[in-house]
């Protein structure tokens, strides 16, 4: 079968049922007939919208990484939680393996994914550096399994419930920024499927290649 013919089909990521692609109307989405999983959706201003949301998410992520997330007060003694203190404490206690795993899962991978996405979208908008964009999209797909910032937020909530009886808790700006990151992530990488992104990539560079 030729490549162009294969492009007319899509396989559901959940149940692996093969579907023929159809053109969607504005605001509609295609669901798997077998398991109702989202296959693809109709996007308007795909790159502009995704780029705007990603930039806001990036700013929120920088705030979340830079400031105190929560403060606790036990009998007048304050302790604050921020990202640097987490890595410092783990490495200070000589748990290097845990430290490296946590460092990559909640700090390096989320920021690399987001930076790669922003750079890829800017380059796609400029219709330049096809190979670099391809490498960035591959990097995003490969790292997306390993970014655990959402699980980290759940862990903060679990830790807060554990401390509730012994200490007074105060939310700081980074906590709100972290919630914003998770919410925006739902609208960016969780909402947009990789097939949508790759199709946009192919459309953009096919047009620019044919113009040359």
């Amino acid at each position: 079968m030729e490549d162009s013919k294969l492009d007319n089909f899509i396989i559901c990521k959940k149940c692996h049922t093969l579907h023929r692609k159809i053109k969607l109307h504005h605001g509609t989405k295609a669901l798997c007939q077998q398991c109702n999983t989202l296959l693809y959706r109709h996007h308007q201003n795909f790159i502009d919208r995704l780029l705007a949301l990603s930039l806001v998410e990036f700013i929120a992520l920088i705030i979340a990484f830079s400031f105190t997330i929560i403060k606790i007060n036990i009998n007048g003694i304050y302790r604050g939680l921020d990202f640097s203190s987490i890595f410092y404490t783990i490495f200070h206690n000589h748990y290097y393996i845990v430290g490296i795993i946590v460092l990559f899962f909640i700090f390096i991978f989320p920021i690399v994914i987001l930076l790669s996405l922003i750079l890829a979208l800017i380059l796609m908008k400029l219709k330049r550096f096809k190979y670099l964009v391809k490498r960035l999209l591959i990097l995003i797909a490969k790292l997306s399994h390993w970014s655990m910032i959402d699980i980290f937020l759940l862990s903060i909530l679990v830790a807060m419930v554990k401390l509730f009886d012994y200490a007074q808790l105060e939310f700081s700006v980074a906590f709100i920024a972290l919630i914003l990151v998770i919410l925006l992530d739902i609208f960016t990488l969780k909402r947009v499927s990789f097939s949508d992104m790759w199709e946009e990539y192919e459309n953009i560079y096919r047009k620019s290649d044919s113009k040359r």
Binding site: L6, H19, T28, K29, T89, N93, V98, I138, W146, I151
Partner: protein
């Protein structure tokens, strides 16, 4: 068929062939030649030879299962109170939370730290066994099972993150929380189960190995 704002599209039963495979990176459809496949769109290697993928998955799974033993036997958390050290294992911590009346948190930790890893072991073993022997389950069910295994994979890290957070916040002269040896084993166990799921070749679901 249109339902609300969603549109269902029909399956292509006439062309459903086991020779078509989805690239996990760019989701392009490729033709399976039975051996090592390079995606036609992103040019990334989709899968190794089936036997290599099978053995990789088994190796990572065995490593994870071995690490699960020290992760549960060694303390994941040490509490230093007035110089006296109390050790808490995962199960001990859950029981402590349950006795203290924090039922939702106890259930979250029980689900994330005990059930999720065990379920993942069972699912991956089942998928590997089903490639060797024909079991009474459809291909669709096995694909769904694999999808669930991939999705729930990272949720086990909750306990490791909670330990890290508590060790930062509870750091006073009279009381201090520090991570235990179990935390290292547990974090590595999660890492290897995720590697095991990622290295599993979905083509093995389609046929008997």
């Amino acid at each position: 068929m249109i339902c609300g704002k969603s549109m269902r599209i029909y399956t292509e039963n006439q062309i459903v062939k086991d020779s078509l495979i989805r690239c996990p990176i760019c989701e392009a459809i490729n033709i399976d030649n039975g051996g090592e496949i390079v995606c036609r769109r992103c040019k990334e290697k989709i899968h190794d030879y089936k036997s290599i993928s099978f053995h990789k998955t088994v190796a990572f799974l065995i490593t994870a299962m071995i690490l699960y033993i020290p992760a549960n036997l060694y303390p994941i958390l040490l509490t230093k109170k007035f110089g006296v050290v109390h050790e808490n294992t995962i199960l001990g911590g859950i029981m402590h939370l349950w006795e203290a009346g924090s039922y939702p948190v106890a259930l979250i930790i029980l689900f994330a730290s005990v059930f999720v890893p065990i379920l993942k072991f069972i699912f991956i073993i089942y998928l590997l066994v089903s490639t060797k022997y024909s079991l009474k389950s459809s291909k669709v069910d096995r694909h769904k099972l694999f999808y669930i295994t991939e999705v729930i994979g990272s949720w086990s890290m909750v306990d490791v993150f909670v330990v890290a957070i508590l060790s930062v916040l509870i750091h006073f002269s009279i009381v201090e929380i520090i991570p235990g040896r179990g935390a290292t084993a547990f974090a590595l166990m999660v890492f290897f189960t995720m590697l095991s799921a990622i290295s599993f070749d979905i083509r093995l679901i389609k046929e008997r190995y």
